[in-house]
Amino acid sequence: MLLVSGKLANEKVTVDDSSPEGTARIHVVFDKGKLISREPASTIFFLGGG
């Protein structure tokens, strides 16, 4: 939520993530709340909050 409607919504933001289970790394870039790029290409992005 920070990314799309919060204080980071007007910035370019890079997220470096661990995969849910394995040893792969995920690299995602957002610009002003929009998804710009993702590696690997098979990355599935869920947006939500709890």
Binding site: L2, G6, K7, L8, E11, K12, V13, T14, V15, D16, D17, S18, E21, G22, T23, R25
Partner: protein, 190 residues
């Protein structure tokens, strides 16, 4: 009989107190730069759901990083859960390990949990996409934190996972989500 039990109880308490005093006094005092990292983290944790890790804080503060320095800061966090609710909620492991160390731990945990042979150094390097010397450094750090133990009979890289870390999913120990914005803010979330 009753007085013997009391004596045993008193002796046990004294032993525990002595052990914890020795453990605390064994830790080298933090250097000024390292204390600065702790102060930064305590202020940062909880802000924007932050669970920022030591390496990210050192990067944000432009503090020279070495395994030794990270270990001193990490050990301090491990032994001081009273510093912040984030340590008590998420555990010290996710706060003190680097992404590489977390992925090395995952590779070993997953193999051991699934009953597969432990990965070798080269297999770990390939799995985590780092060099073999970096794998060795990561393994050494995980051993120092008592997440792994050296075992010549283990095969592979020669380490076993301490049993309490075999089932890591619910604890989020080996997870990282590092965020950096072009505004300069760097932090981790869980």
């Amino acid at each position: 009989m009753k007085s013997e039990r009391w004596s045993m109880l008193v002796l046990s308490v004294l032993f525990l107190c002595l052990s914890s005093t020795i453990a605390v006094s064994n830790q080298a005092p933090l250097r000024a730069q390292e204390q600065k990292v702790i102060d930064y983290l305590v202020k940062d944790w909880g802000e924007d759901y932050s669970v920022t890790s030591v390496d990210i804080a050192m990067k944000a503060l432009k503090v020279d990083q070495s395994d030794e320095s990270r270990f001193r800061i990490g050990s301090y966090i491990k032994s001081h859960p009273e510093l912040h609710e984030v340590i008590r909620r998420w555990g010290w492991v996710t706060l003190v390990l680097t992404p590489d160390e977390k992925l090395i731990a995952r590779a070993l945990v997953n193999a051991e949990r699934d009953g597969k042979s432990p990965p070798s150094l080269s297999e770990l390097a390939r799995a985590v996409a780092i060099t073999e010397p970096d794998v060795k450094r990561g393994l050494a750090m995980l051993e120092r934190y008592e997440i792994l133990t050296k075992d010549g009979k283990a095969g592979g890289a020669g380490y076993r996972v301490i049993p309490r870390y075999i089932k890591w999913e619910p604890r989020l120990d080996f997870v990282f989500h590092n965020v950096s914005s072009d505004g300069g803010r760097q932090f981790s979330v869980n």
